[in-house]
């Protein structure tokens, strides 16, 4: 019933303003000592995997790269059955990091692991 949607547009538009609680990428620098891996990982000293947190807005903006399924699920949650959860805020794009490690036999190992830093978020 587009009438109600149009009627309710102001609150939708307000929401589109990007509420702080919206799904977004947040920093979380962590050291390998905190992860308990510093006795064998010698570089990098700092690692910021970042994470996605926040509610997925009711009208998923294009820049969320949300699949059609998430758009439908969002409508189902609002218009049909609130027991169906809103889509979740999860990482969309990642980038790798390189790690320098000490091996058990005293060797030294350089490795590039993919998908170690979240670069953007999406709703799914």
């Amino acid at each position: 019933d587009t009438g109600t949607l149009a009627y309710d547009l102001p609150s939708y538009l307000r929401e589109q303003g990007g509420d702080k609680s919206d799904c977004s990428l947040r920093p979380f620098p962590v050291s390998f000592a905190q992860l308990g891996w510093d006795h064998w990982i010698i570089a990098p000293h700092r690692y910021n995997p970042r994470y996605c947190k926040g509610a997925c807005p009711r009208l998923l903006r294009y820049d969320y790269h949300a699949p059609n399924h998430a758009v439908v699920q969002s409508f189902v949650h609002q218009l049909v059955d609130a027991n169906v959860p809103r889509p979740s805020c999860v990482p969309y794009r990642y980038s790798p990091i390189s790690v320098l490690m000490i091996e058990r036999d005293g060797g030294i190992l350089y490795k590039e692991y993919e998908n170690m830093i979240a670069e953007s978020c999406t709703c799914r």
Binding site: H39, N48, I102, E103, G107, L109, Y113
Partner: protein
């Protein structure tokens, strides 16, 4: 007090390679510290790392090593040979058994110091491949001959023979002292050559190797 899960009942989900590495390669943290790797090999790998990645570990674009894994292998401990007059000849064996099958060898080099400045003289060093059943002995030539610092000699052909990779590489580190005698034997053992294996780890979760940047031949 659940009875411990028998391995058979655990879901056979392949752990992430990083977690696998943690489980398989992470030396037990019982008093084990990264400090056990030290000296030239550690400094060399830290420099290699800084060339390849920034301070947050992100691989630098265009400066890639051309692969996702580089392993430094140190020579197994040989008794250090005494000097014979001006000469120093040290046999070195690099054991390669136990390399993970998922790591495919792309290139192998031996890194060593062709010359070492001492107080009253200079050491000139070379690497000799020791003859084995399949390959004759020969003197190794470094790709570049820097006046100072490390040289890398390619040994890839001697690591991959017809029947797959060899189990070890045996070299001789030969040095001669040019100039006046020193009051004591030069500390050559500090700069034992070490082996670098450039590998492509084919397990999921490892960054696919980037095509090696084109090297402009001078």
């Amino acid at each position: 007090n659940q009875s411990p899960l028998s391995p058979g009942s655990l879901p056979a989900i392949p752990a992430l390679p990083l977690l696998q590495a943690l489980q398989l390669r992470a030396p037990g943290s019982q008093g084990w510290r990264a400090g056990s790797a030290s000296g030239h090999p550690l400094r060399y790998m830290l420099n290699l790392y800084r060339r390849a990645a920034d301070h947050e570990g992100r691989p630098r674009h265009g400066r890639s090593l051309g692969t996702n894994t580089v392993r430094l292998v140190q020579a197994s401990s040989h008794r250090d040979q005494p000097w014979a007059g001006r000469w120093y000849v040290q046999p070195l064996t690099y054991h390669l058994e136990g390399q993970p099958e998922a790591e495919h060898l792309l290139r192998a080099t031996v890194v060593y110091l062709p010359s070492l400045l001492l107080a009253h003289s200079r050491l000139l060093c070379a690497l000799e491949l020791v003859a084995t059943g399949e390959a004759p002995g020969l003197l190794l030539n470094p790709a570049t001959r820097p006046r100072h610092g490390w040289a890398e000699a390619d040994v890839t052909p001697y690591l991959v023979l017809g029947n797959g990779s060899v189990g070890s590489l045996v070299l001789r580190h030969v040095c001669v002292r040019a100039g006046r005698a020193e009051g004591h034997d030069a500390p050559v053992a500090l700069s034992h050559p070490f082996l670098l294996l450039y590998l492509n780890d084919t397990r999921a979760g490892l960054a696919p190797p980037v095509a090696e940047p084109r090297r402009h031949r001078r």
